[in-house]
Amino acid sequence: MEAPCILVVDDDREIARAISINLQNEGYKVIEAYDGLQALEAISSQDIHLIILDIMMPKLDGLSATMKIRQEKNIPIIILSAKSEDSDKILGLSMGADDYVTKPFNPMELMARVKSQIRRYMTLGDVSMKEKNNRIIRTGRLAFDTETRTLTADGHSVRLTATETKIVELLMKNLGRVFPAEEIYERVWGEVAYSVENTVMVHIRRIREKIEINPSEPEYLKVVWGIGYKIEKI
């Protein structure tokens, strides 16, 4: 199979080039564009599998470009922007982007996100067909098989310890619900909880390291400060 083709769009040519080099090192085919119109042109003429798109660009900005692209194609779009407000992220994602990375970014993280998106885009079709009996709980990149009690991230299975599996099972079965540390402890360990915050937190951090792309900015396994923990329903 031919290497996936990625379109990198940024009016700052140096940044576009740095991203290209990183992507090429990973073995992807890369096309660069320097404004929204060039991006649209490239998409119509080439077979593109993923787009990395800056927001603030001349001629046609990233958000408008995203909307235009979404009218025709279902290619994954990662927005790359210096705008780091929550409201900016929400706006970008609701316009049809699949991921939002703020500048300045860690190149490793960007690569991980690219891989995740590509995997999902390439394999999503047949995976969803296989799902039966609601035995698989899915949220974003994560999928938890309730029968085999295994977790997959982007289709790759994640190795978890027994305790970690129990925590993941609890949180995956109750997506979006916030569990205080005490409740997690009592249900997973089966003992009366007393000053267990640290214990639970240690496990949470370990799980994050296995499932999150950037464990210090978790997307799925989140702390709700002053209340508890949850896995986000995406």
């Binding site: 700052d12 740095a18 090192n25 780091s84 500048k103 640290n198 240690v202 002053g226 209340i227």
Partner: protein, 680 residues
């Protein structure tokens, strides 16, 4: 055109109106009066047809008749003779203008100034001498006459009947018998010269009458011209009525300045004049009637202008109000407290004066048994009550104004910078209200300025941080690429690692700067939820567990068993505690303890974090959080240095408070939050 000449022009037109209207009114009234008994002959210029001529002739005839018949004018014989002499002298004074002849056959008395034979023959037919064209003759039976060669029917002429001839005419017609007018059988002839000339030796009444006739013509012509002129002026004033209105306004202003006390007597007099006029109009002589009518008209006119221009001001502009007004002007120059005191004194003083005056007049009215003095008593009592009323009214308005000013200060305190306080310019507290308004404007301006500068600052920082992020992205990306290069010398790799570290720190700094500026300006959005403060602290500590266990510090944490519910933004508070714990980790002396205590006191939840600093804290509590603004005395090599500033601003924005105490090497942070009552 300047206003003075404009006013003058208006006055000129008004004068036209005034004069024109006067003339027209006078002429209309006068014309009507004259027209009823106007002698038309005067217009034709035929002197011998005029009433005055006829009266003169009749009087002369009467004189002759009385003389020859010895009829007395008065009972006194001597006096009678005097009169007769006088009348005869008048006859003679006419000179050659008049030929007269009278003869009574009974007493043979004859009076004449000519040889009658040439004029009157024995048969009684008359032949006028040259230059004479008028005669009137009584032949003992009846009157005949002639004028310009034509016979004159004296009996038919009604005008002769209105003269002294009337008894003679009626006598001869055989009516009432009256001995004194009995001239039967007498011959009396009067002949008048065609062109009456002046008698150089004496006063000729005929000559003077004729001359008057000439004058009358000129006078009539003149009067007509004046009337037309008046009418013209009136028409002009109608055309220029705008300017007249203008002047009427000026007139109104002048009238407005006149006190009511002056107007009332004038009005009273006017009313009396009007009453008299109505009653006496027909008994008055024409000139007086016309004059009073004109005066009355202008009187009404002035009243109308006064009322129209000044309205109720007509009634309020009286001496009492004027005195109060001038007192107010006097008072205005004094400071507020003095003015108020002075006003009280003035009131008391004038009240006492009025009471004394009214008592004096009351006594006088008893003593003199006169209602006149009593009226003065009433006036003084009324004045006293009025002054008191004015004082009370003023006092209550001032109290109202004080209330309004208090409300206004309250509004200003609440930050209302637009609602202005509008007191009337002569209010006691007007200056205060103006000052308040000025202060309010100043505040509004200052607030607007600071908002603008704050917004500019935030915008600047946002833009700058965006602009910083783009090159930083390149730096980080290429540093990452460099780090992956394998065949670089080890020391170069070391340099690159340092660069990578510093670029990471720069990234952190930019983000902190951005967050802080947003928190300070209040632009940051907060998502406030019910949360447990104790749990939040535990979670944060658990999050930092690795660093805490690696450090040589001991964290002594004391958190109550039960939940400490507060309403706040968990993510932001996490940042706060993260920063504070990070600071403690960074700046604590190795081997010391860090105390984290959460206690509840009433409705407050208080968190204290105490640690022993590993450096000399040569700055004050205020300075440490304001490093962002001021120059730093102890800038650290790691972190942004904004941690405390962010912590404090976030805490405040989350509804709490953050205080810092420095006591020697003891660094203490105290956070206070409001506890939310649990509903369950």
């Amino acid at each position: 055109m300047d206003t003075k000449s404009k006013k003058f022009k208006a006055f000129k037109y008004w004068l036209c109106f005034f004069i024109g209207l006067n003339i027209v009114i006078l002429f209309i009234i006068g014309g009507l009066t004259v027209a009823t008994n106007f002698d038309k002959a005067m217009l034709y210029g035929d002197f011998k047809e005029t009433q005055s001529f006829k009266e003169n002739i009749a009087s002369k005839f009467n004189t002759l008749a009385r003389y020859i018949t010895d009829n007395l004018i008065t009972d006194d014989v001597d006096e009678n003779q005097q009169y007769l002499d006088l009348y005869l002298a008048e006859l003679q004074d006419e000179g050659q203008n008049l030929i007269y002849y009278a003869k009574n056959p009974k007493n043979q008395k004859v009076l004449s100034n000519v040889e009658i034979g040439s004029i009157l023959d024995a048969k009684g037919s008359i032949s006028l001498p040259d230059g004479y064209d008028f005669y009137i003759y009584y032949n003992g039976e009846e009157f005949t006459g002639g004028k310009s060669g034509k016979p004159l029917d004296i009996y038919r002429d009604r005008e002769y009947k209105n003269t002294l001839l009337r008894p003679y005419l009626e006598k001869t017609a055989g009516h009432i018998e009256q001995s004194e007018y009995d001239i039967q059988g007498c011959q009396i002839l009067l002949v008048v010269k065609q062109d009456i000339v002046e008698n150089p030796y004496a006063y000729s009444s005929l000559y003077n009458q004729r001359r008057q006739l000439d004058y009358v013509k000129w006078i009539l012509l003149g009067a007509f011209i004046v009337f037309i002129l008046g009418l013209g002026l009136l028409v002009l004033s109608v055309i220029k009525r705008k300017q007249i209105k203008e002047f009427e306004k000026v007139l109104g202003k002048v009238l407005g300045k006149v006190f009511l006390e002056l107007k009332v007597p004038v009005l009273f007099m006017g009313a009396i004049v009007f009453l008299i006029m109505v009653q006496q109009f027909f008994y008055m002589g024409f000139p007086y009637a016309a004059l009073s009518a004109v005066i009355f008209f202008w009187f009404i006119y002035l009243i109308r202008i006064d009322l129209k221009n000044n309205g109720t001001h007509v009634f309020t502009n009286n001496i009492v109000n004027a005195v109060i007004k001038s007192y107010k002007a006097f008072e205005k120059k004094r400071p507020f407290q003095k003015a108020l005191l002075m006003r009280l004194y003035a009131l008391v003083g004038s009240e006492i004066l009025l009471i004394i005056l009214s008592l004096i007049f009351l006594l006088a009215s008893f003593a003199g048994n006169s209602i006149f003095y009593f009226i003065f008593t009433l006036i003084f009592i009324g004045l006293g009550v009025y002054l008191f009323y004015r004082y009370v009214r003023r006092y209550t308005t001032t109290i109202d104004d004080i209330g309004r000013i208090i409300d206004q200060t309250d509004r200003i305190r609440q930050g209302d910078t637009t609602t202005k306080l509008n007191l009337s310019p002569d209010a006691d507290l007007f200056v205060l209200s103006q000052n308040l308004n000025t202060i309010q404007e100043g505040i509004a301006e200052a607030v607007e300025k600071s908002i603008r500068s704050e917004r500019m600052k935030v915008e600047l920082i946002t833009n700058v941080s965006h602009d910083l992020k783009t090159p930083l992205t390149s730096i980080i990306s290429y540093l990452d690429l460099l780090l992956k290069e394998e065949d670089l010398p080890e020391h170069v790799k070391d340099y690159i690692r340092i660069l990578a570290q510093k670029s990471e720190r720069l990234k952190l700094l930019i983000q902190d700067l951005f967050d802080l500026s947003k928190a300070v300006s209040g632009e940051m959005e907060f998502e406030k939820k019910n949360l447990d403060l104790g749990k939040l602290i535990e979670q944060t500590l658990a999050d930092l567990d690795d660093r805490i266990s690696q450090s040589q510090l001991i964290f002594k944490v004391s958190i109550p068993d039960g939940p400490v519910p507060i309403i706040s933004d968990g993510n932001k508070l996490y940042r706060v505690f993260l920063n504070l714990f990070n600071n403690a980790l960074k700046y604590s002396l190795a081997g010391t303890r860090v105390y984290v205590d959460l206690v509840t006191a009433g409705q407050k939840a208080i968190v204290t974090i105490k640690n022993i600093a590993n450096y000399e804290m040569n700055f004050t509590e205020e300075e440490i959080v304001e490093r962002f603004v001021r120059g730093d005395k102890a800038r650290s090599s790691e972190g942004s240095g904004l941690g405390l500033a962010i912590a404090q601003n976030f805490t405040r924005a989350c509804g709490g408070d953050l205080d810092i105490k420095i006591d020697g090497d003891l660094f203490k942070v105290m956070l206070t939050f409001n506890i939310e009552k649990q509903n369950s």
